[in-house]
Every structure is written in structure tokens, then in C-alpha cells.
């Protein structure tokens, strides 16, 4: 079981780096959708005795992370006709390297945190921290509103991974994760409905500079 789990987590880590390294916004959204879909299946793997309630929470998580939110974002992207993240704050290769460094840091930091015996073999904690950091890098170095939301989704995926440590003791955490997903969903709807794209033509947050000291 731990082997399969760790394989998935390694794929998740690779998807992080891939999301950091592409400039096409559609590819970034698809990468994160794949990551989210993969993660939403984790509770099925972790539960020794699978309960109906746990199985049922997988469905909304999968739908939100894998289909609905990315779908809405791709829809929003079609309206604004932008394809690439031009000139991120730091280039693509440096951000991949930064992501790799973050992963190393996460592995070292996770070593400091003691785990219970049941969780000791798995890569859950380092993957969670590395994914949160990758999300941060995306959030802070990209300027398109949509890419920033993708960064937020990655950050959220990291938190979801950590929730897997608690899923047996507190099934509630998955529901809280779903709520956070819903939150992002509403967030994206806000962008579409309120037409940030139209107000700012290209959804470039660098244009959001009228409020400055």
C-alpha cells in the first residue's frame, strides 16, 4: 500500500515541477487538474476499512478538483484569448530550479517533524510541504490572474495531501478540504461573472497598480 501511495506522491511532485516549467496557461491548468484528480483518489488508498462516507467524499473532491474548477478556468481562458504567461517575475527554468530546491527543503524540514508509526514510511509530509511551496512560487511569480488562481489550487492540493494523515482519525478533514475547493470555485466564478478579464482586458495583475503608495 505504501508503495503505491509513494508512487502517486512522486508523480504529484513531478507535476509540481511541470506546472512551474510551462508557459502555456492551458497546460498549467491541465497539469493541476490531473494532480487534483489523482489526489482525490488518495482517501480510497489510505482507508483500511473503506466506509461509505469516505467513498462518497471522493466524488465531490474529484469533481471539483479534476473537472469543475479546471473546466471553468479553461472556459474563462477561451474568452480572453491569452495563451501564455509572458515574462513571469522569474523565468521558467529558474522557477523549476526553485521548485526543486523547495522539494529538497521540504524533505529536510519533514525530517524534523515526528510521525506516528503508521505513517512513517510514506512521503506524505514532504510532498505536502513541497506542493504548498510550489503553489507559493506560482502565486508570487506569475502575473496573470488565472495563473495565480492555479498557484492557489496547487497550494490547496498540498494541504489536501497533508489531510491524508488525518483522514482515518478525523474523516472531517476531507470535508474541510472540499469546502476550501468550493471556496476556490466561487472565486473563479467571481472572475468570470464580474469580468475581471473585461475590465482589465488581459487579466494581467500588473495592470492592477492604481492602488499604490
Amino acid at each position: 500500500m505504501t508503495n503505491l501511495l509513494n508512487t502517486i506522491l512522486v508523480i504529484v511532485l513531478m507535476l509540481n515541477l511541470f506546472a512551474l516549467g510551462t508557459s502555456r496557461i492551458v497546460s498549467v491548468i491541465r497539469t493541476v487538474a490531473a494532480q487534483g484528480a489523482l489526489l482525490s483518489l488518495l482517501p480510497l488508498l489510505l482507508h483500511e476499512h473503506l466506509t461509505l462516507a469516505a467513498a462518497l467524499t471522493v466524488v465531490p473532491t474529484f469533481a471539483l478538483k479534476g473537472i469543475i474548477i479546471p473546466g471553468m478556468m479553461i472556459h474563462a481562458l477561451r474568452d480572453v484569448k491569452i495563451k501564455r504567461e509572458v515574462e513571469p517575475l522569474i523565468g521558467l527554468q529558474p522557477s523549476v530550479i526553485l521548485g526543486a530546491l523547495a522539494t529538497v527543503f521540504a524533505l529536510l524540514f519533514a525530517d524534523q517533524l515526528p510521525l506516528t508509526d503508521a505513517h512513517s514510511g510514506a512521503l506524505i509530509v514532504p510532498t505536502a510541504i513541497a506542493t504548498v511551496l510550489a503553489g507559493f512560487i506560482l502565486l508570487t511569480t506569475r502575473f496573470k490572474a488565472l495563473t495565480q488562481v492555479v498557484g492557489y489550487l496547487v497550494l490547496e492540493n498540498g494541504i489536501f495531501i497533508f489531510g491524508m494523515l488525518l483522514v482515518e482519525a478525523m474523516p472531517l478533514v476531507v470535508e474541510m478540504g472540499v469546502l476550501l475547493d468550493l471556496f476556490v470555485g466561487i472565486f473563479v466564478i467571481c472572475i468570470i461573472v464580474n469580468q475581471i478579464n473585461q475590465a482589465f482586458a488581459s487579466m494581467d495583475t500588473r495592470r492592477l497598480v492604481s492602488l499604490k503608495e
Partner: protein
């Protein structure tokens, strides 16, 4: 009672959304405000109110915040009617409904005794306040809303991670993983230390973002600057108090776990940093609404600093939650009036507010004197008490630094405020249609009187409530 306090505003929100008249709808706000305040006072007066739900308990800390939020909302709701009368060209359905749901969710924060539920409620406050900031539908308000949502939701995400860490801290030591406050407090000394430390940092950053502590305050000047005055008042007095309550819960847990020394170092650092950053940006600030936002950053810094000093300053800190919340109401509401009258919030266009708007201008000036800690107003008592606490705890450097920053803020804020209130208003500004009316001035005057009252004579029930809150926080029921 919990359910009444939480669901009454939400029910009223639904009703108001169903009303077609843009003119009548705002009156739902004061009806809700008065009913909520009445229910709150009844709840506070009756000693033993329990709910069937174990997750909803009103402890003394919750009572204090509930009182602040409810009072502030009640005053703001009357003001909102006057404000919306000037804005009848804008549909106010979403505005009114969100404002009332906001009150319901804030009440939920004060009752929640489950850290997960509290987190959900704080997440909810972010969602329902975003449309309020967006009320004007201008480019600048979109920008402010976007920053508010993005920064706020990162804060919320980190707070969730911190909450998970806390749950794991109890799971790790072989205890049953729980997020109810009672459950965690009971086993607090046994919690796994590394997880608790990491969790505290994440929660401080997460809820600190909602409070607007530096350096996570970047959303604050934009959101407060662009939101209508009444929303600014509710954000600066309500949301920040609720986020501070969340921080108090975590402090409580760490205190019970015997980690007070670790926690207070971080709190002192964040408090000093927030005060220093706020005072830097306040000097030479031309936009008086942004200035108020920085003042809010400063006062959040004071609260966190007071918490960091610990036991001797806790009474002052709790009192400061009350005095800051009410004074922020005075400032934001009167600033909203001035903004409306001049059509600008820059000191380059705005001057002579005392003559142009005798009531709002005077209240703005008096509110400034109060918030910067001039006697005989409430914040003077609370800030002095925190300073006293710092010296009692032997933290002379911090006490000195605190005094110095208060002085810098007084000078910086004073320069801007005096520019606004003194002089003669320009010809155009004198001819705008806005005049002070009963509904837009009386609520501010009442809040101001409350601030003055707390400065001159703290009512015994309030003293008792604050003492209870401090004892509760120190774990002596």
C-alpha cells in the same frame, strides 16, 4: 440562543433579498442590528446558557467579541440606511444581504468551540465581504477586491494547514485526534511540541493575514480605501476582532501546553513589526481612508503585542479589542461621510471638513484623538494598561518602543487629519449635494459617546466580562 444569533441575520438577509424595493430594503439592516444586539445583551445577562451542540459554546472571550461586533453592527446599520439613501442609483440587494449574512457568520465565529468550524466561519467572512468591497463596481474596487480575495484566501489556506498540524499534534502522542477546544485543552501539555510549534506559526500567519498584521497587510489599505465607509467599519472592527479571537484560541492552547515563552517571542515580533510598518506608511499619507487602514494595522499590532507581553497586559489587550472596535467605527463612518461630501479622499482636495460637515468633521477629529490614545477616551485606558503591563513584566525596551511608535503615529496621523478638518473647503466641495443627516451622523456620535464612556468609567459588567475573559485565557475558570 446560539442558533437565534447566527440564523436570525441570515434569515433577515434572505427576506431582504426577496423585497423588490431598493428604498425599503436597507431598513432590514437596523431591524436586524437592534434584534441582534438585544439578543446579545440577553445572552450576556443570563449566566448559564448552554446549547445542545457541543461545538457551540459561548465562553467569556466569545462574549466579549460578540458584544463588540453586535454593538458596532447595530450602529453601522442605521448609518447604512442613510448611506444607501445617497446611493439609490445602485442596486443594494447583494449589499444588504451580504452585510446581514456577515453578521450571522461573525456570531458563529464567537460561538464556535471547534477549530474546524471556526475556520469555516472565518472563510465565510472572506466570501461574504468580497461583494461588499466590490459595491462601487469601479476599476479600483475590482482591484481591491481581487487583492483582498487572493491574499485573504492564502491566509485561510495556511490557517487550514495549521489546523491540520494541530490535529496531528494530538494524534501523534497517541491521543484521539480532535479539534474541539475542550478536547485539545484537556491534553494540551501532552501535545507533540514540534507539531504544535509549526502549527502555531502557520495559524499566526494565516489568521494574522485576516487581521492584517504586517507583512501580510498588503490587502488592507486597498480594501479599506475602496470599500464604503460602513464596510470599512465592519471590517476594521468586526473581521479583525474575529480573526483576533481565532488567534486567542491558539494562544490559549499554547499557553495551556506550557509554550507561552515560545509563543510570546513570535507575538512580540509580529506586534512590533506591524506597529513599525504602519507608522512608516502613516507619515505623509495623503489618502485619509488608507491612513485609517494603516491605523488598523497598527492597532492589530498593539493587540498582538499585548498578547505577547502576557499576563500583566492581558486586561488591557482585551479592553483594547473593545475600544479599538468602537473607535474604528467612528473613524470609518465619519471618513465615509467626508469622502461622500468631497467626492475625493485625498488631502489635496479635501480640507475644511469642520466647516463643510460640522458633525462628521468634528467626530473625525475627535475619533483621531481617541484612537491615538489621548485621554479621556477609551483607547487611552487600554493602551496605558498595555504599557503598564509591559513595564510590570520587565519589558522596558518593548514598552519604550511602544511609546515611541505611538508618538510617531500621533504625529503622522495628526498631520493628515488636520489637513482634512482645517481650512476652508473649495468652492466645488461646498456645492456638492451631500449634507450631514440624522441617520449618517447620530450613529457615529453614539459610538463616540461609548468610547468616551469607556474612557471615563468602565461599566462594572464590562470589567467583570474582561476579567472573566483573562481568567479563562489563563486557564483558571
Amino acid at each position: 440562543m446560539a442558533f437565534a444569533l447566527i440564523f436570525l441575520p441570515i434569515l433577515m438577509a434572505a427576506l431582504s433579498a426577496a423585497i423588490p424595493s431598493n428604498h425599503l430594503r436597507p431598513w432590514f439592516l437596523p431591524v436586524t442590528g437592534v434584534a441582534h444586539l438585544a439578543l446579545t445583551l440577553v445572552t450576556l445577562a443570563s449566566p448559564n446558557l448552554t446549547t445542545s451542540a457541543a461545538w457551540l459554546v459561548l465562553d467569556p472571550l466569545g462574549k466579549l467579541i460578540l458584544l463588540v461586533v453586535s454593538t458596532l453592527f447595530c450602529a453601522s446599520s442605521f448609518y447604512a440606511v442613510g448611506y444607501l439613501r445617497h446611493r439609490e442609483e445602485r442596486p443594494n440587494r447583494v449589499f444588504c444581504a451580504c452585510l446581514m449574512v456577515f453578521l450571522g457568520i461573525m456570531s458563529l465565529v464567537t460561538w464556535a468551540h471547534h477549530l474546524g468550524l471556526m475556520w469555516v466561519a472565518i472563510e465565510g467572512t472572506t466570501l461574504v465581504t468580497a461583494p461588499l468591497i466590490y459595491f462601487n463596481h469601479t476599476q479600483r474596487s475590482i482591484e481591491a477586491t481581487w487583492k483582498y480575495l487572493l491574499v485573504g484566501s492564502v491566509g485561510i489556506a495556511l490557517a487550514l494547514l495549521g489546523t491540520f498540524f494541530l490535529a496531528y499534534a494530538s494524534l501523534h502522542t497517541g491521543l484521539e485526534a480532535t479539534l474541539t477546544l475542550e478536547g485539545i485543552l484537556e491534553h494540551a501539555p501532552k501535545l507533540s511540541k514540534p507539531w504544535l510549534h509549526a502549527s502555531f506559526v502557520l495559524l499566526l500567519v494565516g489568521y494574522g493575514t485576516k487581521m492584517g498584521l504586517a507583512p501580510m497587510h498588503s490587502w488592507k489599505p486597498d480594501a479599506y480605501g475602496e470599500a464604503p465607509g460602513v464596510v470599512g467599519a465592519m471590517l476594521a472592527g468586526g473581521v479583525t476582532s474575529c480573526a483576533f479571537l481565532a488567534l486567542l484560541r491558539i494562544y490559549h492552547i499554547c499557553f495551556a501546553a506550557g509554550e507561552a515563552a515560545y509563543v510570546s517571542r513570535l507575538l512580540l515580533f509580529m506586534g512590533m513589526l506591524s506597529m513599525a510598518v504602519a507608522s512608516l506608511f502613516m507619515v505623509g499619507q495623503r489618502d485619509f481612508k488608507r491612513m485609517l487602514a494603516y491605523s488598523s494595522v497598527e492597532h492589530m499590532g498593539i493587540l498582538v503585542l499585548g498578547l505577547g507581553i502576557g499576563a500583566p497586559a492581558l486586561y488591557g489587550t482585551m479592553l483594547h479589542v473593545v475600544t479599538n472596535g468602537l473607535t474604528k467605527g467612528v473613524l470609518f463612518l465619519s471618513a465615509g461621510n467626508i469622502h461622500r461630501a468631497y467626492g475625493s479622499k485625498s488631502t489635496e482636495q479635501v480640507c475644511g471638513a469642520m466647516r463643510r460637515l460640522p458633525l462628521s468633521g468634528t467626530l473625525f477629529l475627535v475619533g483621531f484623538l481617541a484612537i491615538t490614545g489621548s485621554p479621556p477616551f477609551g483607547p487611552f485606558i487600554s493602551e496605558f494598561s498595555i504599557l503598564n503591563g509591559a513595564f510590570d513584566a520587565g519589558r522596558f525596551v518593548i514598552g519604550g518602543f511602544f511609546l515611541f511608535l505611538l508618538l510617531v503615529v500621533f504625529i503622522g496621523m495628526g498631520a493628515t487629519v488636520l489637513k482634512v478638518v482645517q481650512g476652508r473647503a473649495s468652492f466645488e466641495a461646498r456645492n456638492t449635494p451631500y449634507r450631514d443627516s440624522f441617520l449618517t451622523a447620530a450613529p457615529i456620535a453614539i459610538l463616540m459617546l461609548l468610547v468616551l464612556l469607556v474612557g471615563l468609567y468602565i461599566p462594572p459588567p464590562l470589567t467583570a466580562l474582561i476579567r472573566d475573559a483573562v481568567l479563562f485565557l489563563e486557564g483558571q475558570p
